[in-house]
């Protein structure tokens, strides 16, 4: 009964989305208030209906209702409760339902928080959101129905892919989708602006928080995925340039560019047409990512051709969204008024350079990801594009981006001088050069490139600190004055400093782990010992243990340093009985400056077990840096000017005492 309710709610949601996607558009064109007002009501209704559908599927998972095909295929009664719940989106149908849910919730958020948007703009934004929603709801109902029943119901399910039975990967898709779908709101705003024929700073002030929020979630999602790969795949790597990873990196790069160009629209009323284009592209790349992952085209072009219904649908949808958006752009964008003027050397100029480089990076990833597919499709030739390609193309392009990143904030709007900005950064420059030299001389003399990259990481951190110090005029004015300036600094500026500096930590972690990690692979029998970087590691025993839905071999490694016990590592090899799949459970001891990382390989008591040990310097900084990056975004998001209604309140408060002519007015705050 409950799955049918969910199914029915989904059908109703599709109908509501169709209404929401059409009538408000007509209303906005004709100036009909009632039709426009329909948008908000429909958005709330749609969100409620999809929520009911999602709750129904979750209920089927939690109670292990094996009359539902989707639950049979992806769940098992012996699975821990938390993975029964995360299993809802650990499969194709459920993850698409999650996508539709987040989309509908974002639509509802626009309806709720968009009360002070111009009526026509709000109506159009909600309609575009609903049209995207229609596409996904129809996709669910016609090709990927999560509520399909099975009779007779089997006694138990097939279980969830063991790789997904992990906290890191369980929450990776929702975060990623919050990012992807967040860009749908910016897309809707861009299309609505094209329909209105108007882009102004007020529009940018609306678009920026959505972009920022989407970007923050996408950053966290990508970081979580990378962290998961690091601890589960068992050889200490954290980014593999896999097409699935690239699929999320492309919208991130475009979104980062959008984040910066939207600032120019907001502050200077320039780059309007370009920002609209970026908003269309960022969401298109999000959809492309979904298409790549969901259609199976990555596994093989031929696998995609064998079961083409889903893939072709997403491809068609992708073409409609991208092509439709771009066609509308080509038609309407020339009508947007050109914005404010500026010199090449200016904040605007720096942000254009940022956009140029970020977009080139996105193109690099796009080519590297799609080229093998197209070459295979068109000529039948196979080509591999892997990490060495991206190291040779993507990484060098980061150098000018990072170099310019610290300079940009020192340039004024409209017209600026380069030299004074550079002289303010001389401390950062010397510190980073020194860091690179030390890295080359002391740490590892073989890889000059790694040392240079390390220097860039230090440059980003010190440069950001110097920028902030100069903003509050630290050490130039008495410190109470600096403190006053610190309090007056807008949250957006604080967020920028945090995010820029955090990027430096990501760079340092990646370089140090990638270039300077130590590795020991040895076959050990119980009682035997090996060494890695000043640590003695003894294999004490290997025992069999039983988990809730797996059995495992667990090794106990005693780590001592200088003869004194340091820690115990217990890596496991788990066998998930239902799926007959093995997963390595690595053991990691971290002190935030380096990870001591151990995995257990094959073996038996006679020959010994293969033990892999890694010492990954600064590895935790990669994900802490990424989390800090997202934190910077959230801090910026809390900026007063982005909070709805805040400016009005502020004005009312400051105006209050003045109007009462010096007498004490009532204190409203």
């Amino acid at each position: 009964m409950i799955p049918e309710l969910g199914h029915f709610a989904l059908i109703l949601a599709l109908v509501v989305a169709l209404v929401q996607g059409t009538l408000p558009l007509v209303g906005a064109a004709k100036g009909d208030d009632r039709l426009m007002a329909l948008g908000s009501t429909a958005a709330l209704t749609q969100a409620l209906l999809v929520l009911i559908a999602f709750a129904a599927l979750t209920q089927a998972y939690v109670t292990s209702d094996f009359s539902v095909v989707n639950v049979v295929a992806n769940s098992h009664s012996a699975k821990p409760l938390v993975y029964k719940i995360t299993g809802v989106w650990g499969n194709h149908e459920g993850s698409m339902l999650l996508w539709a849910l987040i989309l509908a919730l974002f639509g509802a958020a626009v309806a709720i928080f968009g009360a002070n948007l111009p009526d026509t703009l709000r109506a159009r934004v909600l309609a575009i959101q609903a049209l995207i929603g229609t596409g996904f709801l129809a996709f669910l109902l016609f090709t990927s129905n999560p509520f399909e029943r099975l009779s007779p119901a089997p006694p138990d399910g097939n279980g969830l892919n063991p790789l997904l039975q992990d906290p890191g990967l369980a929450f990776h898709p929702p975060l990623l989708y919050l990012g992807y779908v967040g860009f749908s709101v910016t897309y809707a705003f861009a299309i609505a602006a094209l329909l209105e024929g108007r882009v102004d700073p007020a529009w940018a002030r609306w678009v920026r928080p959505w972009t920022l929020a989407a970007w923050c979630f996408l950053t966290l999602g990508i970081a979580l995925g990378s962290w998961w790969a690091y601890y589960i795949l068992g050889w200490g790597g954290f980014w593999f340039w896999d097409p699935v990873e690239n699929a999320s990196l492309m919208p991130w790069l475009a979104g980062t560019a959008l984040l910066h160009s939207a600032i120019v629209v907001e502050k200077r009323d320039a780059l309007k047409s370009w920002t609209v284009l970026l908003a269309i592209l960022a969401f298109s790349l999000s959809l492309l990512g979904t298409f790549l992952v969901r259609s199976g085209v990555l596994t093989s072009v031929h696998a995609f051709a064998q079961d083409p219904a889903r893939g072709l649908y997403i491809l068609g949808f992708l073409i409609a969204v991208t092509g439709g958006g771009l066609a509308l752009y080509a038609w309407r964008a020339p009508k947007l008024s050109p914005g404010g003027l500026f010199q090449p050397v200016s904040r605007e100029g720096a942000l254009i350079l940022n956009n140029l480089l970020l977009c080139t990076l996105a193109v690099t990833v796009l080519l590297g990801t799609l080229y093998p597919l197209f070459l295979d499709l068109l000529t039948g030739n196979k080509v591999s594009v892997g990490p060495p390609f991206f190291n040779a193309t993507f990484v060098p392009l980061c150098a000018p981006l990072f170099a310019a990143l610290c300079v940009g904030p020192f340039l004024g709007w409209k017209r600026a001088e380069l030299w004074p900005a550079l002289t303010q950064l001389r401390l950062a420059f010397f510190v980073s050069v020194a860091a690179a030299v030390v890295a080359a001389a002391v740490v590892d003399s073989r890889s000059t490139l790694a040392a240079v990259a390390f220097g860039f990481g230090v440059w980003l951190i010190v440069g950001s600190i110097v920028e902030f110090a100069s903003r509050i005029r630290l050490a130039r004015v008495p410190w109470p004055e600096s403190l006053r300036r610190l309090r007056a600094t807008p949250r957006a500026a604080i967020g920028m400093t945090i995010a820029h500096g955090a990027l430096g930590f990501v760079v340092l972690g990646s370089v140090a782990t990638g270039a300077w990690h130590l590795e020991v692979i040895e076959t050990l029998k119980p009682g035997e010992k090996t060494h890695i970087a000043g640590y003695d590691v003894t294999l004490q025993r290997v025992e069999n243990v039983q988990g809730p839905n797996y059995v495992a071999e667990r090794a106990t490694l005693a780590v001592t340093t200088g003869g004194r016990p340091f820690t115990t590592l217990q890596p496991e090899r788990r066998l998930f009985v239902v799926q007959r799949r093995q997963i390595a459970e690595t053991a990691i001891q971290t002190n935030l400056l380096r990870d001591l990382y151990a995995t257990l390989g094959e073996g038996d008591p006679n020959t010994g077990w293969v033990i892999r040990l890694y010492l990954n310097p600064l590895a935790p900084w990669i994900w802490l840096g990424a989390a800090l990056c997202a934190l910077g975004g959230f801090v910026s998001l809390s900026d007063r000017r982005l909070r709805i209604g805040a400016p009005t309140r502020f004005r009312a408060r400051t105006a209050g005492p003045g109007m009462t002519g010096g007498t004490r007015g009532p204190r409203s705050a």
């Binding site: 254009i352 892997g386 060495p388 390609f389 069999n544 809730p548 059995v551 090899r573 390989g601």
Partner: protein, 162 residues
């Protein structure tokens, strides 16, 4: 959170059976194994570097260094044999390409078929930079403000004359 309610005796037999399966199942975590490694650390380091640039031909986007597949093991052995025989890194790559084709290289060679792959992004950078420069030039040429309208001129006269 919810442990399966398996009676102890049954559970133990179940574990024993599962362990037997565990021995047979292919392991995802093991790639380069100690038994394969060369004695000379310098030579082994070169083998690892080469291994990371070669694709395991049956895997999905994995280097032979990261893959546990049988083919990857054979390929790792082949790389080490060639190195032990005194080949240079490039000779090893040539040998592997002769056996498996360009497909084995994770960094595709610069050829007619990969022209767009290698030059696409630099081309975009170049064209976009040129477009930006042109736009900036045009804006600057078009920059002189429009002449004052008749009403504005009148207002100016009245202000100045005022």
């Amino acid at each position: 959170m919810i442990a399966p309610a398996i009676p102890d005796r049954v559970g133990r037999r179940w574990v024993a059976l599962a362990m037997a399966v565990l021995m047979l199942a292919t392991s995802p975590s093991v790639a380069v194994e100690p038994s394969e490694m060369l004695k000379d650390p310098a030579l082994e380091a070169r083998a690892r570097a080469i291994g990371q640039a070669l694709r395991c031909v049956v895997c999905q986007n994995q280097s032979i260094d990261d893959s546990a597949a049988e083919v990857a093991r054979d390929m790792r052995r082949a790389v080490r044999e060639r190195l032990a025989a005194g080949d240079s890194n490039n000779q090893v790559f040539d040998y592997m390409v002769a056996r498996y084709g360009d497909y084995v290289l994770l960094k595709p060679p610069f050829k007619a078929g990969t022209l767009l792959l290698w030059l696409g992004a630099p081309l975009v950078l170049l064209v976009a930079s040129a477009a930006i420069l042109v736009a900036v030039r045009q804006r600057r040429v078009a920059a002189p403000p429009p002449p004052l309208s008749e009403r504005e001129r009148e207002r100016l006269r009245s202000l100045l004359g005022g």
